[in-house]
Each structure stands twice: as structure tokens, then as C-alpha cells.
Symmetry: C2
Subunit: 213 residues, 2 copies
């Protein structure tokens, strides 16, 4: 399989973690978001949404959207389960995926910040505060959701698709300087994740297309 992705894209980062947790290896095809390569005609035939990641299967069929790809990997391949068996616990994991993948990351991603800087002519401090506001809002609601639990990971003693979403969002939170001091439980889960090779190998700075910028 081939993964079209970008080292610093949090959606690509999620899928890299999931692949590692499942013990799967893929060919990584870098799509340079910063240079706008993803909006050229070429990549739009691969992904009409012109976003990363895209997973290309062995037969050439392409899947888009990190949540859909991660569920596909979990339904199709052996290895560590990315979702629990119990339907209520599965709903909790998917709720985390949606809180981050729906209500947090898309509001602070590159194309939205570009729209704030471009058509809306917002100065950089306002743009940065926008990103911090939405990341903090998302992570604080997540902290409230899991504060009562005391498992090493969000819901159980194994990382799941929820952690595939959480860790890249923490990465973004640090990039934008979000105050994480109140997120005690999430930070403990993060530390447990970062101790695992699957998470370490998926880090943006450990990707072949990573640059210093």
C-alpha cells in the first residue's frame, strides 16, 4: 500500500500511528502541502478533496480521510485492535476521533489559517490566537470527558484510534503554544503513548520529508 501524506499534517500523522500499531508498512509518498503541490491537477485526481492523507490499496483503489482509513485498517488487518469490542466503548473512541478530527483540527488547519490571513486580512497574532482558541476548546472538553478514568490510555490499557487522533493534536497544540497545564489526564496519556515505538516512529520530525522549517 501507498500513503500519500505530509510530515506535519496531523491527519497523516494519525494514520502513521495506526499503521505502526497494526504492524503494517507502506510506501510513503510525500505531498508537499506548504508548496501547494496538493492543489495541482495531479494530486486532485488522486484525492478530489486535495487534502492528505490518501491510502492507495494494492489494487490501486484509493481511500481518503484519516478516520475512514483507520477504521478500514482495523476492519481489514490483524494486529492490535484500534477500536474496543464493546459498542459503548467504541462510541467513546469514535467520539474522541470526532471531537479532534471534526471539531478541532479542521478549524485550525492550514487552509483555514490561510483564509484568515488572505481574504480576511487578519494579522498573524489574531491567526495564532484563533488556532490556540479552537485547540484549547477541543482539548479541554476532551479532558473533561476522560478526567474520571484512570487507565494508562484514554479508556483502556491499550492505545486505540482515539490516541491516534489525540497525539497529533497535542503536537499542533505545542506548535501554536497552547497552555496544556490544565490537561493533566491527557498529558499522562500522551506520556504513555510517546514511550511506545509506534508513536515515536510516526512523529513528524522522524519522517523522510521533514524539513527544518
Amino acid at each position: 500500500m501507498k500513503l500519500f501524506g505530509y510530515w506535519r499534517s496531523s491527519a497523516s500523522y494519525r494514520v502513521r500511528i495506526a499503521l505502526n500499531l497494526k504492524g503494517l508498512t507502506v510506501d510513503h509518498v510525500p505531498v508537499n502541502l506548504k508548496d501547494g503541490v496538493h492543489r495541482e491537477a495531479d494530486y486532485s485526481t488522486i484525492n478530489p478533496q486535495k487534502l492528505v492523507p490518501t491510502l492507495e490499496l494494492e489494487n490501486g483503489r484509493r481511500l481518503t480521510q484519516s478516520a475512514a482509513i483507520i477504521e478500514y485498517l482495523d476492519e481489514t488487518f490483524e494486529g492490535a485492535p484500534l477500536l474496543p469490542e464493546d459498542p459503548v466503548q467504541r462510541a467513546d473512541v469514535r467520539s474522541v476521533m470526532a471531537i479532534i478530527g471534526g471539531d478541532t483540527a479542521p478549524i485550525q488547519n492550514l487552509r483555514v489559517l490561510k483564509y484568515l490571513r488572505g481574504p480576511l486580512e487578519q494579522p498573524e497574532p489574531v491567526v495564532q490566537e484563533w488556532a490556540r482558541h479552537w485547540i484549547a476548546t477541543g482539548l479541554e472538553s476532551l479532558e473533561a470527558m476522560v478526567a474520571g478514568q484512570d487507565s494508562p490510555f484514554l479508556f483502556t490499557d491499550q492505545p486505540s484510534a482515539a490516541e491516534c487522533f489525540l497525539i497529533p493534536q497535542f503536537y499542533n497544540a505545542r506548535r501554536f503554544g497552547v497552555d496544556l497545564s490544565g490537561l493533566k489526564r491527557l498529558r499522562a496519556v500522551e506520556a504513555n503513548c510517546q514511550a511506545l515505538t509506534a508513536f515515536e516512529a510516526a512523529k513528524p520530525e522522524n519522517q523522510a520529508d521533514a524539513t527544518a522549517a
Copy 2:
């Protein structure tokens, strides 16, 4: 079961369609988003994210996020399947769910528009154009994704969770005056959905808490 929702919330609308497609009835508890009732302490104990919908199960356990709730309903109850059986087709349906539920609706929802009007002091025409821009971007990429198909619904001859997401987004598109003329295939699917009682009964204007405003 109880559904905490709001007549005009597209995420609540998605779950209402899904419940109808499964043939399930629930008690509807209106949470007035416009009056800010959802941010009062009371509702935040029900849903820490202070958003709708929340599904309360018979045993009092609460599930949040429309995508997670819809997957739960599909995994737990008999009735029309909301996701196909084939893993690749499931990925396509979930990709639609994420394109709308992640990359479209959250960027144009009430709290984001409030932030544009409030802290960013953007005039109303700019706010309206923001909403139109992101809705059009999402729906156009979706049209490109499914343009080659000719089934009555997005992927098959039955509505799925993808249509539970599509129809509320079309409702929002019309509210904001998005030009839908280029979305031929999506409009055909919409017409087929709207002919079904499950979609008709879920419409915002057919809810008990609907107001003229």
C-alpha cells in the same frame, strides 16, 4: 433512549435521520443553542463539549458526537444497515461522514461564526461568505468524489450514514445561499432522500422545538 438536540443543528438532524432509517423512536429533549442554554452548567454535565447531540441510553449512559452515535446505532440495533458490509465501501461512506462532519460543518457552525462576529469583529457579509466558501468547498469535493457513480444514493441503492450527513449539509447550504447548480449528482441523491419518510420526518421544520426565526 433520549436525544438531546436542537431542531436546526445539522449534527442533531443527522442522528434524527439515522434513528428514522433504523426505525427507532426516542424522547427528544430540546437544547436551545441560540439562547446559549447548552453552555449553562446543567447541559455541560450531560455533554462536556457543550454541543448537541447527546444520546442517552436506557441505562443512563451518554454518547456524544453524531458520527459515533450513528455507528453505535448501526452496531447495536436491527433494521436497515447504515453502513455497507464491504470494508472499502464502508471507508467511502466514512469518508463522506468525515468530509462533511469534519472538514465542512464544524468550520461553518454557530460557535465559529460567533467567533468571527465577536472577537474578530467581521461584518455580516464576510461571515456569510465564510460559511458559503467552506460549504461549497466541501460539497464540490464530494461531488467530484461521487460524480462517476449512477446509483440512486451516493454509493448504492439504499441511503446510508453518508446520506445522514449529506442532507443536513444541503440544508445548511441553502440557508447560506450556496450555489448548488454544479452539484448535479448530489442534488439527484438529495431528491431521492427527500422522497423518503425517514428524511421528511427528520427535517428541522418538522421538529417540536422549531421556531419561525
